[in-house]
Amino acid sequence: AVALLAGCASDTGTNTGTDSGAGGGTDGDLSITFIPKQLNNPYTDVVLGGGEAGAEEAGFAATEVVGPLEASASSQVSFINAETQAGTSVIVIAANDPDAVGPALEEARAAGAKIVAFDSDTNPKYRDVFISQVVAKDVALIQVELIAEQIGGSGEIAILSATANATNQNEWIKFMEEELAANPAYKDITLVAKVYGDDDDTKSFQEAQGLMQAYPNLKGIISPTTVGIAATARYLSTSEYKGKVALTGLGLPNEMRPFVKDETVTAFALWDPAQLGYVAAFAGKALADGDMTGAEGDTFEAGELGEREVGADGIVIVGPPTVFDAANIDEYDF
């Protein structure tokens, strides 16, 4: 919960209230299981930390975290199946593939489970609500804004993403492309390449390196994934491109701190991952208690983060992203 608190402190202005009334009643037989994209990933660990804290506050009798060791489209299905059989009340999932988990989730729902998607959405028809970090467009825009600032408003840029099928990544990239095309402020910026590091450190590293060679005039890189941005930063900081090629995107402050300190990276963004899990747990509780159905306009109490409202398509927004730079990075610990 340390990370969560640190995150809260940073989210100045978003907290609408601090009602501590946890979910519905005191029925202690509700269980919740988190299925992240992949276990043993630092970002995931922060998200899950928030989730477990939230689940306890919300009053779940049992909290479990299960998941695959590698993030492939189908690897989550058997975990969902096992949860279905275990009669879990709420399944919170970050989908590796929006459709691959569909049939399994439908079976889980048929068996009475409530489905909360978080971090990366499933196809909307398979879940009750989706807890989104932020408004997808906001995330996209802030990254474009950061890179434009860092390269002085003109030049070639590239995107280094996670896997080619990651729902959230692709949505952000789509908004970035639209913004670059539509906004006259960015008319001198050209997006020359999109590459994929598959959220693998080595692969991302080599993709970054490939970008430099293939595009000698590259001015900046956006990497909207924590693994990708760190690997790219490592490459830049060890090569002649350090300080010449700008880098921004979504990163974990703890991972990025050395690169901000050594001036490879000026600024990058992220939301508080812990809040994501935290809110997801409360949303699950509200669904399981029947306090809401996930329809647009429904509201629920998210512990110390206050009341949240379900928006269009069953999406719940957690909060805006934070921009980290040399000035504020030491205030965060996640």
């Binding site: 276990l39 479990e64 299960v66 695959p68 060791l69 590698e70 492939s72 489209a73 189908s74 299905v77 058997s78 975990f79 199946n81 096992a82 279905t84 059989q85 275990a86 009669g87 593939d97 929006p98 459709d99 691959a100 988990v101 569909g102 049939p103 079976e107 196809n123 896997t163 080619a164 099928n165 994929y196």
Partner: protein, 387 residues
């Protein structure tokens, strides 16, 4: 030197007169010293104590244990989920068993499944009829397998190296075909069929097809002349050639077999998860090979059986699902799989060494000792006393 009639020697009885054909009536008996050691196990005992049987007992024992120890395990729902999970491995393991028995290997199976999946996605997205999509995808698997088969059987390249190459090639082609897209909107009826169960049994409907595939390869391996030939090829390619086994042709068709069945697995994968992507089934090759080896197939060829392999696949699948139910991390599964694999090959050799040692002791007890010099060093007195 006198000729003591040792207690452990006996002369082989001459064949009964009526059984001797005209051409051997005057054959000379070149009897060789053979002991009165019990003969090889009789048919029934061999089957009941064989390697396959042990795998099956292990599987049954584990299922029994899980049913008692793990709440909710003993239910049709388990059967359904478990089988749905193991189907791709089970499918590919069938032809893989035959391939490994001939002393070869196929590492490209998962890539063929991925290529099939990618093709299905692209073809379906382009608006083709689903029947045609399935047919073309299956055919792609046949072609991919035939290409492997051509390089290995006809050109004569080592299969391990070739299929490392096609592992990359086919996965690469999958990427070329579908890129970073994913196609998901397959006909709902079809995808539903692929996760449907037969009545209340929990057994997935597609198991009918899987059983058919298993039966096909089981009969092919164990009951046909072709299958007999495969064992001979696995032991000695040259000796097989001399008895008229068409080694190259047999291998070629086996690779066509792995190719087509991998395509079937790819189709299953795509429709079960209703998602066609280039990375589907990636890494499955090692799982399949681990399961096949666990099922008692010798990596050197010449040994193994379909029932053993099925038991091996199901054992890993069951352990896997039990761990899931108990919410024990996959870390444990990985370690258990690795250990089982090693144990499955180390145990027999430990067992054999033990037998040799015991036999050695018995020999020392029963062998006639050469007077004066014979009983000196090698035979410890303690051993003899033990009678």
């Amino acid at each position: 030197m006198s000729e003591p009639s040792s207690p452990i020697t006996r002369s082989s009885p001459l064949p009964p007169a009526d059984k001797i054909s005209s051409l051997d009536t005057r054959l000379i008996d070149t009897t060789k010293t053979l002991t009165t050691e019990p003969k090889g196990r009789t048919g029934a005992a061999r089957i009941l104590l064989g390697r396959d049987a042990i795998m099956i007992y292990l599987l049954l024992a584990f299922v029994l244990y899980a049913s008692i120890a793990i709440p909710r395990f003993a239910s049709p729902v388990t059967v359904g989920f478990l089988l749905l999970d193991v189907i791709p491995v089970l499918l590919i393991a069938m032809p893989m068993t035959l391939v490994i028995i001939t002393g070869e290997i196929d590492l490209s199976v998962a890539s063929i499944a991925g290529l099939t999946s990618a093709l299905m996605g692209v073809l379906w997205a382009s608006g083709l009829d689903i029947g045609l999509v399935l047919a073309i995808s299956l055919f792609a698997g046949v072609v991919a397998g035939a290409f492997n088969g051509f390089l290995i059987a006809v050109v004569g390249l080592p299969s391990l190296a070739v299929t490392i190459g096609t592992l990359a090639l086919y996965r690469g082609l999958a990427l070329v075909v579908i890129g970073d897209n994913a196609v998901a909107n397959f006909p709902p009826g079809l995808t539903a069929f692929f996760t449907s169960k037969i009545g209340g049994t929990g057994i997935p409907t597609v198991m009918i097809g899987v059983v058919a595939v298993a039966l096909f390869f089981g009969v092919l391996l164990h009951l046909t002349p072709f299958g007999r030939g495969l064992y001979a090829i696995g032991f000695s390619k040259e000796a097989a050639t001399f008895v008229g086994i068409r080694v190259a042709r047999a291998k070629f068709w086996l690779y066509v077999g792995t190719g087509s069945v991998s395509a079937l697995a790819g189709i299953y994968w795509t429709l079960r998860y209703s998602s066609a992507r280039s990375d589907n089934a990636s890494g499955l090759e090692l799982t399949v090979i681990a399961a096949v080896l666990l099922g008692g197939v010798s990596i050197f060829g010449g040994k193994g059986s379909i029932p053993g392999v099925i038991a091996g696949v199901l054992l890993i699948g069951t352990i896997n699902f039990s761990l899931r139910l108990e919410r024990i991390s996959d870390v444990v599964l990985i370690i258990v799989t690795g250990s089982l694999l090693i144990a499955s090959v180390v145990a027999p050799s430990v067992f054999e060494a033990l037998q040799r040692w015991r036999h050695g002791r018995r020999m020392h007890k029963t062998l006639p000792q050469v007077p004066a010099s014979g009983a000196t060093s090698a035979t410890a007195p303690g051993v003899q006393e033990r009678k």
